[in-house]
C-alpha cells in the first residue's frame, strides 16, 4: 500500500507542467470573455498528442502508452491546474471507445490529435438532449454513462452553440443524432467511470491552484499595516482551501489506484472523487476570489477563470445530485 506518486508519476507532473507553462500559459487568455480563434492551437494539440498525452492510459496492445489511470490523473491534474484549453478529456475517452470497439485506425487518429472529439453530457438520465463541451472544431462526440460509452458523428447531431460562462471552452446544446460510430459497454471498458476520475483530477488541480493563488496573495497584500493572511478570517479560509485540495487529490489518487487494481468498489470511489473535487474546486474558487477582494472580481487576475472552469466541469459527465444519488440510492 502506497498512495504517494512514484518517481515516474512525479516525472509526468514535471514534464506536463513545464510544457503547459511554455506552450499553453494560463495567463494567455486573461482579460477576454471568449477566446478568439480556435479553442486550442491545433499544432500545440498535436504536439501534446505526440508526447503521448492522449493515449497515456490506453493499453499498448491497443496502440497506447500502457500506463494506468494513476498516471493519467497526474496529467489531468496539471491540465486543471494550468487551465489548459482543448478537448483532452473527450479525446482520451473517445480513443478508448474506438480502440475497445475494435476501430484501431479511428483510435489512432484520435490519439494523434488529428480527429478532435467533443464531450457530451446527457441533460437527464437516458435523454438524447445533451450539453457539449469543446464542440467547435470537433468532428466526433463522445457520450458516456454508467451503462457504456459511444462515439457519434458531430455532423449528425443537432447542436446550437451557446455563449459560455467559460469562454475558453466552446460549448453547445442540442440533441444526439445518427447512428453511433463506435460503442463499448462499461463491462468491456468503464469509460464513464474513468472520465469521472479524470475530470475530478482536473478539478483537484484547479482546487490546488486556487489554494496557491489565495495563499500567495494573502501573504503579500497588506491592509492596516500587515499582510491580510495574518488575520484569522483569511488564514482559516486558506486552511480550509488546503484541506479541500488535499482531500480532492487524495481521493482522485485512491479512485485511480483502485481502478487500476480492479478493486470491487472503484465505481463508488470515482463517484466520490468527482463529487468531492467538484465541491473543492467550487468552494476554493469562491474563497480565492473573496481573499483577493475587488481585484479577484476582475479579469486581471486568474481566480475568476478557475471559477468559470470549475463551474463548467461540474456540469460534465454527472452533476452533484446525480453523484450523491448513486452513493445512496433511494431503494
Amino acid at each position: 500500500m502506497d498512495l504517494m506518486p512514484s518517481a515516474e508519476q512525479d516525472e509526468i507532473t514535471t514534464t506536463v507542467a513545464s510544457f503547459l507553462a511554455a506552450r499553453l500559459p494560463a495567463t494567455a487568455h486573461a482579460s477576454v470573455f471568449v477566446t478568439p480563434g480556435p479553442e486550442i492551437d491545433p499544432v500545440v494539440f498535436r504536439e501534446c498528442a505526440e508526447l503521448g498525452w492522449l493515449s497515456l492510459g490506453l493499453p499498448e496492445a491497443l496502440g497506447g502508452v500502457g500506463y494506468g489511470l494513476a498516471e493519467e490523473v497526474m496529467l489531468f491534474r496539471e491540465l486543471g491546474r494550468g487551465l489548459a484549453p482543448g478537448g483532452f478529456l473527450p479525446a482520451v475517452l473517445g480513443a478508448r471507445v474506438a480502440a475497445f470497439a475494435g476501430q484501431r485506425e479511428l483510435a489512432a487518429s484520435i490519439v494523434a490529435g488529428e480527429v478532435l472529439v467533443a464531450l457530451a453530457t446527457r441533460d437527464r438520465v437516458g435523454a438524447d438532449d445533451v450539453s457539449v463541451l469543446h464542440a467547435a472544431e470537433a468532428t466526433l462526440l463522445v457520450v458516456c454513462d454508467a451503462a457504456g460509452a459511444a462515439l457519434y458523428s458531430l455532423a449528425d447531431c443537432t447542436l446550437t452553440p451557446i455563449d459560455p460562462v467559460d469562454g475558453s471552452i466552446r460549448a453547445a446544446r442540442g440533441a444526439l443524432g445518427g447512428a453511433t460510430v463506435a460503442s463499448v459497454s462499461s463491462e468491456i471498458d468503464p469509460v464513464f467511470v474513468r472520465g469521472l476520475v479524470l475530470c475530478a483530477a482536473m478539478q483537484a488541480g484547479s482546487a490546488e491552484a486556487q489554494r496557491d493563488l489565495g495563499v500567495a496573495y494573502a501573504g503579500v497584500r497588506e491592509q492596516f499595516g500587515k499582510p491580510i493572511g495574518a488575520n484569522q478570517a483569511i488564514k482559516h479560509r486558506c486552511a480550509d482551501m488546503a484541506v479541500r485540495a488535499e482531500g480532492a487529490f487524495a481521493q482522485v489518487c485512491y479512485a485511480a489506484t483502485a481502478a487500476d487494481g480492479g478493486a470491487d468498489r472503484f465505481v463508488d470511489e470515482a463517484v466520490i472523487a468527482k463529487y468531492f473535487a467538484d465541491e473543492a474546486a467550487r468552494l476554493n474558487g469562491e474563497a480565492c476570489v473573496q481573499i483577493h477582494g475587488a481585484i479577484g472580481f476582475t479579469t486581471e487576475t486568474l481566480p475568476h477563470r478557475h471559477v468559470w472552469r470549475a463551474h463548467t466541469l461540474a456540469r460534465a459527465l454527472a452533476v452533484r445530485a446525480a453523484l450523491l444519488d448513486h452513493l445512496v440510492p433511494r431503494t
Binding site: D123, D163, G296, T299, R320
Partner: protein, 390 residues
C-alpha cells in the same frame, strides 16, 4: 409593536404604485456599463424628477421630496414590486455625493450641483479607494498640493464605479503631511479636467463599471473643496444616511421576488432524474430556507427602521443586514445555477430574463462591496458587542 399603516400612508402607497406602474421603463437596462446604460440611468432619473419623485429621501430645502421615513419605506417597497430599474450610474450622486454636499457643502456648491444630480443631468463617481487603501481609507496616498488658488493632484484611484461616464467625482486626497486620518481633503473633481485618465477594468460578470483613475498634475480650483482643506476625513464621515435604511427594503423585496420566481420555475423545470425540481425534497427545502431567510431580513429591516424613527440614529443593524444579505444573495444565486443544471453553462447577463448566471457571477462582488463581510463581522464584534480589537 404595530404593523398597520395610516390611511394617509395607504393613500400615498396607492399614489406611488400608480405612478410607478405608468412610468417604469418597459425595456431592460443595458448591461456592460457602456454609454447606453448611462443614457438609460439618466433618463430614468429625469423621469422621476419630472414626476416629482427625485431625491425622495433628500430634504425639501434641497429640491428633494423630504418624505417621512415610513413614506420612504413605502416608496422603496413599491419600487421593488414594480420591478423598477437598478439606480446604476446615478447611485453615487443620489445616495452618497449629494447627501455629503447637503451635510457640508457651501451654498454655492449646493445650488450648482444638487439640481443637476436630481434632474439626471450628471453622473457622479466616488474617488476614495486606492491600490493599498481599499478597506483602509486612512492609507490614502493620492496627493494634492496647493498652488495659488488650485490644488494640483497626482496619484491613482481604483474601483471607481462609472468613472468612465461621470462628470464629477467626490475625491478624497492627502493634502497634509500628517498620518492616517489627518491631512485629508474632500474635493469635487470635474472629470473632464486635463490630466485625468480613466481605465475601465473588466469584471468576471462581463461588466466594466469599475475603473482605475490616474491623476497627472490635475488642477482643481480650491473653491471645489468641501469643508476645509485637511478636514476631508470628517467630511467623508459626515455623509448623511438620508434613507434611514429604507432603501435596503428594495433589495430585500427584489430578492424575495427572485426566490418566488425560482420556485415557480421549479414547478416545471426537470432535474437530472427527470422529476420536476420542486418534487425534489432537497431543492424544495433549500428554496424554503431561502424564503425564510429573506423574510427574516425583512423583519430585521422593519425593526431597524422602527428603531431609527424612534431614536433618530442608525442602529447597529446596518452591518448585520449587509452581512446577512451578502451571504443570502451568494447562497441564492448558487442555488439557482445548481437548479439550472446544463442551462447554467451559458452566460446570460443579469438584466435579462433568466439572467441567473450573470446574477451568480455578480454575487461574487457581494463579499467585498461596501467593505468585506469580514470587516462587517469585525464591526459587529467590536462596535456592537464590545469585544476587544485584535
Amino acid at each position: 409593536m404595530d404593523l398597520t399603516f395610516t390611511q394617509e400612508e395607504l393613500d400615498f402607497r396607492e399614489e406611488v404604485r400608480t405612478w410607478l406602474h405608468e412610468n417604469v421603463p418597459k425595456e431592460a437596462r443595458p448591461h456592460g456599463d457602456r454609454p447606453d446604460s448611462r443614457e438609460f440611468d439618466l433618463a430614468w432619473q429625469k423621469a422621476q424628477y419630472d414626476g416629482g419623485w427625485a431625491g425622495i429621501s433628500w430634504p425639501a430645502d434641497f429640491g428633494g421630496r423630504g418624505l417621512s421615513t415610513i413614506q420612504q419605506l413605502i416608496w422603496y417597497e413599491e419600487y421593488a414590486l414594480a420591478d423598477a430599474p437598478w439606480i446604476g450610474a446615478c447611485f453615487v450622486g443620489i445616495n452618497h455625493g449629494g447627501p455629503t454636499l447637503i451635510a457640508r457643502a457651501s451654498d454655492e456648491q449646493k445650488s450648482f450641483h444638487l439640481p443637476k444630480i436630481l434632474k439626471g443631468e450628471v453622473v457622479w463617481c466616488q474617488g476614495f479607494s486606492e491600490p493599498g487603501a481599499g478597506s483602509d481609507l486612512a492609507a490614502i496616498r493620492t496627493r494634492g498640493v496647493i498652488d495659488g488658488d488650485e490644488l494640483v493632484v497626482n496619484g491613482q484611484k481604483i474601483w471607481t464605479s462609472f468613472a468612465n461616464m461621470a462628470e464629477y467625482q467626490e475625491l478624497l486626497i492627502r493634502t497634509g503631511d500628517e498620518q492616517r486620518h489627518k491631512g485629508l481633503t474632500w474635493v469635487i473633481c470635474d472629470m473632464r479636467t486635463p490630466g485625468i485618465t480613466v481605465r475601465p477594468i473588466s469584471t468576471m460578470d462581463r461588466g466594466a463599471e469599475f475603473c482605475e483613475v490616474f491623476y497627472d498634475d490635475v488642477r482643481i480650483p480650491l473653491t471645489n473643496v468641501v469643508g476645509q482643506v485637511g478636514d476631508g476625513w470628517s467630511v467623508a464621515m459626515s455623509t448623511l444616511s438620508l434613507e434611514r435604511g429604507t432603501g435596503f427594503m428594495a433589495d430585500i423585496l427584489h430578492a424575495t421576488r427572485t426566490i418566488d420566481e425560482l420556485i415557480e420555475e421549479c414547478r416545471h423545470r426537470r432535474g437530472p432524474d427527470g422529476r420536476p425540481v420542486l418534487h425534489d425534497d432537497e431543492y424544495a427545502r433549500r428554496l424554503a430556507a431561502a424564503k425564510a431567510e429573506i423574510t427574516v431580513l425583512r423583519s430585521i429591516t422593519y425593526r431597524s427602521i422602527s428603531r431609527n424613527i424612534r431614536t433618530g440614529m442608525p442602529g447597529p443593524e446596518g452591518s448585520m443586514l449587509r452581512l446577512q444579505y451578502g451571504d443570502l444573495v451568494m447562497g441564492l444565486s448558487r442555488l439557482a445555477i445548481e437548479i439550472l443544471g446544463p442551462d447554467a453553462l451559458a452566460y446570460v447577463d443579469r438584466f435579462r430574463a433568466g439572467g441567473w448566471t450573470g446574477n451568480w457571477l455578480r454575487a461574487f462582488a457581494a463579499g467585498f462591496g461596501g467593505g468585506t463581510l469580514e470587516i462587517q463581522r469585525n464591526i459587529i464584534g467590536e462596535r456592537v458587542l464590545g469585544l476587544p480589537r485584535g
